[in-house]
C-alpha cells in the first residue's frame, strides 16, 4: 500500500518488506497460530458455526477499532468511542421508536450525530488546544451521561421497527449463496473497513491524517489547514462510532444506555495489536481488523476451552504487551 507521508521523515518504503507489511504479517501469523492452537486444544472450536460466532463477535470491536485507528494515526487518541457508540444507539432509538420515523432516518441520524459529537472533540483539541487524551476523556463522560439522560436511563427497544434487527443479525449472503451464513453485521464491518482503507490510502484526508501524525509542524508549514483536518478526523471517528452503535443496538434489539464503558480500550487494543503506532504516523485498517480478530479468537477460544473470565483478561493483556514489543523491535530494525 502506498502510505504517502508529507513529512520529510525517512521513507518507510523499502521494497516489499515495509515495517507496516511486516507487522501486518506478524499479526496475521499470530492470528493463524491462535486458530491452529484452539483447533487442536479446544474441542468443537474448529466448526463453521463457531467461525460465524467469532466474526459476529468481532463486528462491534472491529468497527470501533477502525474509528480509533484514524485518530491514532493522526497522533491523537479517542477515549470516547465506547460511550459514543452507546449514545448513537440511543439517538437511533429516539428517532425510530420515540419519534416513529422510518429506518433510514435512524441510521443516518445516529451516524451524523456521532460525527457531530466527534467534531466537537476535534474542535476542543484543534481550537482550544486541549490534549486529545483529556478532550476525549471528557467526551467519554459527556456521551455516557447524555445516553442516560436522553433515554431516561431506560433501554429503548426497536420492536416497532422490525427491520432494524437485520442491520446486524440477518444474512443477505445466505439469500445470494444458500448455506453461507455470514451475518449482516460482519458485512457492515468489512464494508466500513474497505471504505476506511480507501479514505486512508487514496484520499486527501488520509494523506493529511498521516501528515498530522508524522510531523504536525511540517504539515502546518506546508500550508495544510491542520485545525480543520483534525476536526474532520475526530468527526469521522464519531461517524464510524455511529455505525458501531447501530450494530450493537440492532443485535440486542435495544439501545442499552448503561453499556459501553471499556469498549474504547478493546478498540485501542485492536488497533495497537494490528500495528498502529500510538505515537502516530503509522497504521493500517487491515492491521486493526486483524487485531480485532485476534482479540475475539482469543476470547472465544478461551471460553470454548472453559478458561475462566479472569484468566482470559490476563492473557489478553499479555498479548497487547507482546504486540507492542514486536512493534518496537521492528521499528528499530527499519
Amino acid at each position: 500500500m502506498t502510505e504517502t507521508t508529507l513529512a520529510p521523515a525517512a521513507p518507510e518504503k523499502t521494497g516489499f518488506l515495509t515495517v507496516a507489511t511486516l507487522q501486518k504479517a506478524v499479526a496475521f501469523v499470530v492470528l493463524i497460530l491462535l486458530l491452529g492452537f484452539f483447533s487442536l486444544f479446544a474441542p468443537n472450536f474448529a466448526q463453521w458455526s463457531n467461525m460465524v460466532n467469532i466474526m459476529q463477535a468481532t463486528a462491534v470491536n472491529g468497527v470501533l477499532g477502525v474509528a480509533v485507528t484514524f485518530v491514532i494515526i493522526s497522533a491523537g487518541i479517542d477515549l470516547s468511542v465506547g460511550t459514543m457508540m452507546t449514545l448513537t444507539a440511543v439517538i437511533a432509538g429516539l428517532i425510530l421508536t420515540n419519534a416513529g420515523l422510518p429506518l433510514p432516518f435512524g441510521v443516518v441520524g445516529a451516524m451524523l450525530f456521532g460525527g457531530f459529537m466527534g467534531a466537537i472533540s476535534g474542535a476542543c483539541i484543534a481550537k482550544l488546544k486541549i490534549p486529545p487524551f483529556i478532550a476525549t476523556l471528557g467526551m467519554m463522560q459527556i456521551a455516557r451521561g447524555l445516553a442516560l439522560v436522553f433515554s431516561g436511563a431506560k433501554p429503548i427497544y426497536f420492536n416497532d421497527t422490525p427491520s432494524y434487527y437485520y442491520i446486524s443479525s440477518g444474512s443477505v449472503i445466505t439469500r445470494l449463496i444458500p448455506g453461507l451464513e455470514v451475518p449482516n453485521g460482519v458485512l457492515v464491518m468489512f464494508g466500513v473497513a474497505i471504505a476506511a482503507a480507501v479514505i486512508l490510502n487514496r484520499s486527501i484526508l488520509g494523506r493529511y491524517i498521516f501528515a498530522l501524525g508524522s510531523n504536525e509542524e511540517a504539515a502546518r508549514l506546508s500550508g495544510v489547514n491542520v485545525d480543520m483536518w483534525k476536526i474532520v478526523t475526530y468527526g469521522l471517528s464519531g461517524l464510524i462510532c455511529g455505525v458501531g452503535g447501530l450494530l450493537i443496538s440492532s443485535r440486542l434489539n435495544s439501545a442499552q444506555p448503561a453499556l459501553g464503558l471499556g469498549y474504547e480500550l478493546d478498540a485501542i487494543a485492536a488497533a495497537v495489536i494490528g500495528g498502529t503506532s500510538l505515537s502516530g504516523g503509522r497504521g493500517t485498517i487491515l492491521g486493526t481488523i486483524i487485531g480485532a480478530f485476534i482479540m475475539s479468537v482469543l476470547t472465544n477460544g478461551l471460553r470454548v476451552m472453559g478458561v475462566q473470565e479472569e484468566w482470559k483478561i490476563v492473557i489478553t493483556g499479555i498479548i497487547i504487551i507482546a504486540a507492542v514489543y514486536v512493534d518496537t523491535v521492528l521499528r528499530k530494525k527499519a
Partner: protein, 311 residues
C-alpha cells in the same frame, strides 16, 4: 411522553437532592442504591417513593453510574451522612468494604436499613432483601424439571464479587448438587453486560453440543441468553432472573422457559417503612425477605406476578 415524564422525574429527584439540607427539620432519608440504570433500581425507587409519601417523609434516591464503582458509592454515602439525615437506606456494592463508612453513620446515631445486598456487620437494623440463594434454587428447580432432571447445564453469572452474584450462583449450583444427581454443571462463566453475555453463551453452546439448559443470573445476562438462543436457533432450555422487556418478551414467546423475579417495589417500600418504624421505636427483625416469584408464559399475566414485573 413516558420518556419525558421519567426525565422530569429524574430532574425533579435531583432538585430535591440539592434542596435536601435546607429542609433538615423534616424527616429525611437518603436511599443509596447500587446503580440507577438497570430497570430494577427504577422499580425500587418507585416503591421507596410511594412509601415515603405514605409515611410523610422525604427521600432522595441515588447511586453510582455502574455497579462496579464501590469507591463512588462510598463517596455518595459519606455525603449523605454529612447531611445528618434521620435515617439511611443503603445497598452495599461490597458487603465488607463499606462497613467503616457505615460506622460513621451509626456513631452519629443515624438508623441504617440495608437493602438488596446485605452488609457483614450488625450496624443495619434490618436488611430488606430477596433471599438470592432460595430464588436461584427455584430457578434450578424450574430448569431441572424442564430437562427431565438429567443432562448437562451451564450458568452465566453477572459478576463474581457481589453478594447477589455469589448468592445466585451458589443457590443454583447447590440446589442442583443436592436434588438432581443426574444433572452435570459443565461450565460457569461470568459476563457483566448483555453483549458479553451473548458471546459467552454462544461459546458455551459451541463447546458443549449436548447442553440441555442455561441459567442466566440477572437482566443483562438474560438478555444475552435470549439473543444467543435466537441467533443460534438452539432449542435448549433457558432460565433467567429479574425482568425487563427483552426478557419478558422472550418468556412470553417461549424462547426462554421462565425466570425468577424479585419484588423490587416491595424492597423500596420495605426500606422506607422500616426506617419509619425504627424512628417510632419499633424493633425490627434482622432480615426482611421481600420475596420472589417464578414466572413463565403461563402465569406472567396474573395480577400477582404482573405487579412485580417491569419493562
Amino acid at each position: 411522553m413516558k420518556k419525558t415524564l421519567i426525565a422530569s422525574v429524574v430532574a425533579l429527584a435531583s432538585t430535591t437532592m440539592l434542596c435536601a439540607p435546607a429542609m433538615a427539620q423534616e424527616t429525611y432519608f437518603p436511599i443509596i442504591a447500587k446503580g440507577f440504570s438497570h430497570q430494577f433500581w427504577q422499580a425500587v425507587k418507585l416503591g421507596a417513593e410511594s412509601a415515603a409519601e405514605r409515611n410523610g417523609v422525604s427521600i432522595t434516591f441515588e447511586g453510582p453510574n455502574t455497579e462496579a464503582e464501590i469507591d463512588k458509592q462510598t463517596d455518595i454515602l459519606n455525603a449523605a451522612i454529612a447531611k445528618k439525615p434521620q435515617g439511611l437506606g443503603f445497598a452495599a456494592l461490597d458487603s465488607q468494604a463499606q462497613v467503616p463508612a457505615l460506622q460513621k453513620a451509626a456513631d452519629a446515631g443515624i438508623p441504617i436499613v440495608a437493602f438488596d445486598s446485605g452488609v457483614e456487620s450488625d450496624l443495619p437494623l434490618t436488611t430488606c432483601t430477596t433471599d438470592n440463594m432460595a430464588a436461584a434454587a427455584a430457578g434450578a428447580d424450574g430448569l431441572a424439571k424442564a430437562i427431565g432432571e438429567e443432562g448437562e447445564v451451564a450458568a452465566v453469572i453477572h459478576d463474581q464479587t457481589s453478594a447477589t452474584g455469589i448468592g445466585r450462583r451458589d443457590g443454583f449450583l447447590n440446589r442442583l448438587a443436592e436434588a438432581y444427581p443426574n444433572i452435570t454443571v459443565v461450565d460457569v462463566q461470568y459476563a457483566n453486560d448483555a453483549l458479553k453475555a451473548t458471546e459467552t453463551i454462544k461459546a458455551i453452546l459451541q463447546a458443549h453440543p449436548n447442553l440441555k439448559g442455561i441459567f442466566a443470573s440477572n437482566e443483562g445476562a438474560a438478555i444475552g441468553l435470549a439473543v444467543a438462543l435466537k441467533e443460534t436457533g438452539s432449542g435448549i432450555v433457558g432460565v433467567g432472573f429479574d425482568s425487563g422487556k427483552t426478557q419478558k418478551d422472550a418468556v412470553r414467546a417461549g424462547e426462554l422457559l421462565g425466570s425468577i423475579t424479585q419484588n423490587p417495589v416491595g424492597i423500596g417500600e420495605c426500606v422506607v417503612d422500616s426506617l419509619a418504624k425504627a424512628l417510632a421505636g419499633e424493633t425490627l427483625p434482622t432480615t426482611i425477605d421481600t420475596g420472589f416469584y417464578w414466572y413463565d408464559a403461563t402465569n406472567m399475566d396474573s395480577p400477582e406476578i404482573a405487579a412485580v414485573l417491569y419493562d
